[in-house]
Point group: C2
């Protein structure tokens, strides 16, 4: 299922982006719009301190219909109390006026520093007239939601007569630096909100929810899908397959562009007691600072893999049935480190994409987690906030 060489929007979707004065000069606001109402679904952060846009978004998405999405960066509008929610409503209303729709059909996202009031007047002034800028390149919208992602991230793929397009931002050097993930999915397939919701949750559980740059859960994470139906009905199985493939690919792009990252780390666990335990173990490995620094240094210190598996206390794990591979090269058999050629393992770790596979030999549970190495650039990006 090939991705388009250059991302394109499905029928009837457009976007625009601007600098509205939150950042010195870089773009800090984006608008995504459908020509017609779209069935919609969304998932949000599970953090107990959701941002005001997430609080509002949960209310908005209940209607199952969206006309567009408006996003600002630099200030996340989190931990800002009732005034924050009111500011999010004003942002939705301003964007709705531009698109000739009602505020309850606009999804709002904000990403940036926590606990600072949203400069809503600047945003309202900046939104005014933005409908005139709407155009057809999803990368323009992707650029508008970038923080310090190193490049704008968009993808598109065909699914029968329909197209599915992803626009996302990842774990760049935005001030709170918390791998804040915003991912918007647009399609012209005709699917109802309930079906979209089910498909989105299934796909997210296998992709974005298996992504971790640092184990810190953002207060702003949002993943939404809009289906405007302009391409008519699609084969649901085919559509889901394309949706999942694209979600996984975008997850890999976000992981590879994690703060300071130099490697994409993919960890697959097979043979766990169930999928939940496979997810737990694969996340433990992909989040382990010692595994991440091992990959960073291409250092064949593979005992760390067993340490990271073994610290999943609540999972069923038997050393005598545990095997592990790095990029196809077996390094652990039956819980014991093999007497491998260190130069070969060093070489296997030195490539850009490092695949780690662990077989637990317990049951049928499988999962893959996505992450990156841990580098000094992560420290640089996160230890100074006023000075950057």
């Amino acid at each position: 299922m090939p991705f388009h060489d250059r991302p394109q929007f499905p029928r009837g979707f457009h976007c625009a982006s601007r600098n509205v004065g939150l950042k010195p000069s870089a773009k800090d606001l984006a608008l995504f719009a459908s020509d017609v109402d779209a069935a919609a679904a969304a998932v949000f952060t599970r953090n107990h301190f959701p941002g005001a846009p997430v609080i509002l978004g949960r209310e908005t998405i209940r209607g199952g219909v969206l006309r567009g999405i408006v996003v600002n960066s630099k200030v996340s509008n989190v931990a800002t109390g009732a005034a924050g929610v009111e500011n999010a409503r004003r942002m939705a209303a301003a964007a709705a006026t531009e698109l000739g729709t009602s505020a309850d059909r606009m999804l709002v996202s904000s990403t940036g520093v926590i606990g600072v009031s949203l400069p809503i007047e600047k945003i309202e002034r900046g939104i005014h007239g933005i409908a005139d800028d709407l155009q057809d390149d999803p990368l323009v919208g992707a650029e508008g939601i970038m923080t310090t992602d190193t490049y704008a991230k968009a993808l598109s793929i065909g699914a029968g007569d329909a197209t599915i397009t992803w626009v996302a931002k990842g774990s760049g050097m935005i001030e709170p630096n918390m791998a804040t993930m915003l991912s918007y999915i647009f399609t012209d397939a005709a699917l109802d909100a309930r079906t979209l919701d089910r498909m989105l949750r299934d796909a997210v559980s296998l992709s974005f929810n298996m992504l971790s740059v640092d184990g810190d859960t953002s207060t702003s994470d949002t993943c939404a899908i809009l289906a405007n139906g302009l391409a008519g009905p699609v084969d649901e199985a085919l559509f889901y397959e394309a949706l999942l493939v694209g979600c996984v690919r975008m997850t890999e792009m976000l992981a590879r562009d994690g703060e300071g990252a130099e490697h994409l780390l993919r960890v697959t666990v097979n043979g766990a007691a169930d999928d939940a335990e496979a997810r737990r173990v694969s996340k433990s490995i992909v989040n382990s600072p010692l595994v991440k620094t091992m990959v960073h240094g291409a250092d064949p210190n593979v005992g760390r893999l067993l340490m990271a598996v073994g610290k999943c206390f609540e999972c069923e794990i038997h050393p005598e049935s545990t095997d592990a591979w790095i990029n196809g090269y077996q390094v652990v058999r039956e819980g014991t480190r093999l007497d491998f050629d260190e130069a070969v393992v060093r070489a296997a770790l030195a490539v850009e994409v490092v695949d780690i596979e662990v077989r637990l030999g317990v049951g049928d549970g499988v999962a893959t987690a996505y992450g990156c190495d841990l580098t000094k650039a992560y420290i640089d990006e996160n230890a100074a906030y006023f000075s950057s």
Copy 2:
């Protein structure tokens, strides 16, 4: 309850340390010995891949009696199969011969790289004659178990007529770099093994088990207590109080000397639903890479505290009752970041010991977790293993 200015052993305890050829020249083997059999208890790592010394140690400690402890560094004897356990037994036997006791009264520890065979012949040769080196300064033993701890760690304190002495190593730049914790406690109080076991578990749950440098659980963690009774009976409540005070102090020493650390981070959570939830939230904060880098940079990005509290999905947390302080300065009230003086908070973060307090306003649960900041030196220490 004042600690002694210079650590000293209780009556009847001695130690020695040597280089036996595992490292180029630094000491790599230590022996701790009691003149008489001591009642003993120990707790070990919960990692599913315990080292061979841990497997043997669990068997040994069942007897409730120890004469001594023998420890090597450089090679941890983990993931080494049945041969590894046999090597641990040989190490116990060699040390027992020196002390004129049986192997089942010797506790063995090994710390270092995972998955490499223990050079048991070197160790046996090195142990031969070591009883002649036994002397009375616990720091000599502490030096023998150091890896790249920046200094040798020992403490002692009086408890009535008895003395309690701690010798520990922490999270230095030993090759696997996994905050491998070994902590041995010696006392001349007369206490039986069952009482020691209960007291040790209680004290450890409030001290060493609340320590985290990087969230990675060593395969070798061991904490043991030996009571040889030479000071006679003690008041148990008084003894437990001294035991707990010393365990907490040693935990702080280990945290402050965590890999690359420049700050000790102490996180107290009050008002959680119960103590277990308080432990969960305090660990989440002390382990958060974004909180750790914030402390490293003395960057008043305090929204990260709420993020780290909020990602404890399974805990009862209400933004409207959540407050937070940094070194006594309130930065969050009712889930909202206060409009504080950034220079003051920056100054509060710039000191060596950073105390973070979070009140959840839910129940009576309390816990304190101990950790350190995350620095580039952590990356340096962990990304290169062959080259260091």
